[in-house]
């Protein structure tokens, strides 16, 4: 029996892989989206759902521009998904707020934001520093301990689970091959492309895109790439539905289109450990109640921890293999925010067979620094 063959195989069926596949969907049945299955660490099912620009790009200005471009392209992505699947991903981009609970916190935040915007080559956008009255004008429910915050008009959120579902549905509608429970153990470069080896069978492809999240660290060296990503644990508290009161997302508190209040925060390097840390949850809840005292009487329905896909400097990695030019790599911890950029900019470059120079700053070569003599 001959091995099935596709033009492009995307390894990783999460938000990064599915958004790239969405951008390549014209290939139809010549495109395959391969997913490890329910055993995977699924950042795409544990995330918070922000489409967030404010503060991004400190230390790598092109990342700020990339993030802004994606936020600007998001309405087009949401419209296309609605057209092809009827699913509404609940996109809102009303601006977003980062709140501060002390004068010291606010001063540090303001300094950080002005340093971000002052970087040479940074594509500027407005970040307003608000005092308490400025915050209360936008969100009257904030408590007395809120002293101010920072605001960007570019921020927003969506329903991330519906986004993942809509991407998968859109791919299915045009006949893209979607294999779940199909972990890739080995990528074997061949004369005209690659052979992917899974316990469930083999697949030949002309090009391969590594979008396997934390799995990219293992897969990348098989095609001459490098993806030094490690897990970074975040926590989420999901509260019951209440009537809409929060029409703009905060960086750590938001209300979904269906009324659920979510709190998302914390960054911990703990390896492949998804265990809940009650002290972290308690600190998150306490801070949320400082911001919105009325949350005190609202029930918590569930909590979870999930693993971000973190590179050493926190920025995405996009790369094309020099040794095997048909192999591409995409990894980031902002699969929701960057979904539109992945679909509309990265995917067409992969279809062309070459990442343009604009992607150079995101290459993993930035980690190959020679040790000082």
């Amino acid at each position: 029996m001959s091995t099935p063959r596709v033009d492009v195989a995307v390894i990783g069926g999460g938000l990064v892989g599915a958004a790239i596949a969405f951008g390549l969907r014209a290939l139809g049945s010549k495109l395959a989206l391969l997913d490890e299955g329910d055993v995977a660490f699924r950042a795409s099912r544990g995330n918070f759902g922000l489409i967030w620009v404010q503060g991004k790009g400190f230390g790598l200005p092109p990342y700020g521009a990339w993030t802004q471009a994606s936020a600007r392209a998001w309405p087009r992505l949401a419209a296309l998904l609605r057209e092809s699947t009827t699913l509404d991903v609940a996109l809102r981009q009303p601006g977003g707020l980062h709140v501060c609970l002390s004068a010291h916190e606010l001063a540090a935040r303001a300094d950080r934001m002005s340093a971000l915007l002052a970087q040479p080559g940074f594509e500027r956008y407005d970040i307003d520093v608000l005092d308490r009255a400025g915050v209360a004008a936008r969100i009257p429910e904030v408590g007395p301990e809120v002293v101010g915050g920072t605001w960007s008009a570019l921020d927003g959120d969506c329903n991330p689970l519906r986004l993942l579902r809509a991407l998968h549905a859109a791919l299915e509608a045009v006949g893209v091959v979607h294999r779940t429970g199909f972990p890739i153990e080995r990528i074997e470069p061949a004369a005209h492309g690659f052979t992917l080896h899974s316990p469930r069978g083999r697949l030949d492809c002309e090009r391969v895109v590594l979008a396997a999240g934390l799995g990219n660290a293992r897969l990348a060296p098989m095609v001459g790439l490098s993806a030094p990503v490690t897990p970074n644990k975040g926590h989420i508290i999901v509260m019951e539905r209440v009537r809409p009161f929060l029409r703009v997302p905060l960086e750590t508190i938001r209300q979904t289109d269906e009324g659920t209040v979510m709190i998302g925060d914390a960054q911990q390097a703990r390896g492949f450990d998804e265990a809940l840390d009650p002290a972290v949850l308690a600190a998150m809840a306490a801070r949320a109640v400082q911001v919105f005292p009325h949350l005190c009487g609202v029930r918590v329905n569930r909590t979870w921890a999930a693993l971000r896909v973190m590179s050493p400097d926190g920025f995405p990695i996009y790369a094309q293999s020099a040794a095997h030019p048909g192999a591409f790599l995409a990894t980031c911890h902002s699969g929701v925010t960057l979904a539109a950029a992945h679909a509309f900019t990265l995917a067409p470059a992969i279809a062309e067979g070459r990442l343009p120079a604009a992607f150079d700053p995101f290459s993993s070569r930035r980690f190959d620094v020679r040790a000082a003599a």
């Binding site: 019951e240 539905r241 209440v242 269906e258 009325h294 029930r299």
Partner: protein, 106 residues
Amino acid sequence: MFARQPDLIVERGTIDIVVDGAVVAARTGDTVAAAMLAAGLMCTRTTPVTGAPRGPFCMMGVCFECLVTIDGRGSQQACLVAVAPGMRVDTQHGARALVAAAKDSA
């Protein structure tokens, strides 16, 4: 729909509670959900997303279908709260309000 089983009734006295403004006679020891079902009140709430009616299902605190507002506090599980004299119960329509004082506006 529901009737109290005569052989299981222990005479413990009655308590009046108020459900959506109407007096309902309950028995001491009833949960709010039991008192409402015995009074023929099947619907405790409507859902936040589709507005579908819901009523007590598991009667043991697991399903969260029987949410009501009790003495002004929203999303209480009717099957886990015992009736008390003068208790005011309101069926809940859609999501509860964040601020209790605004709860009757919808």
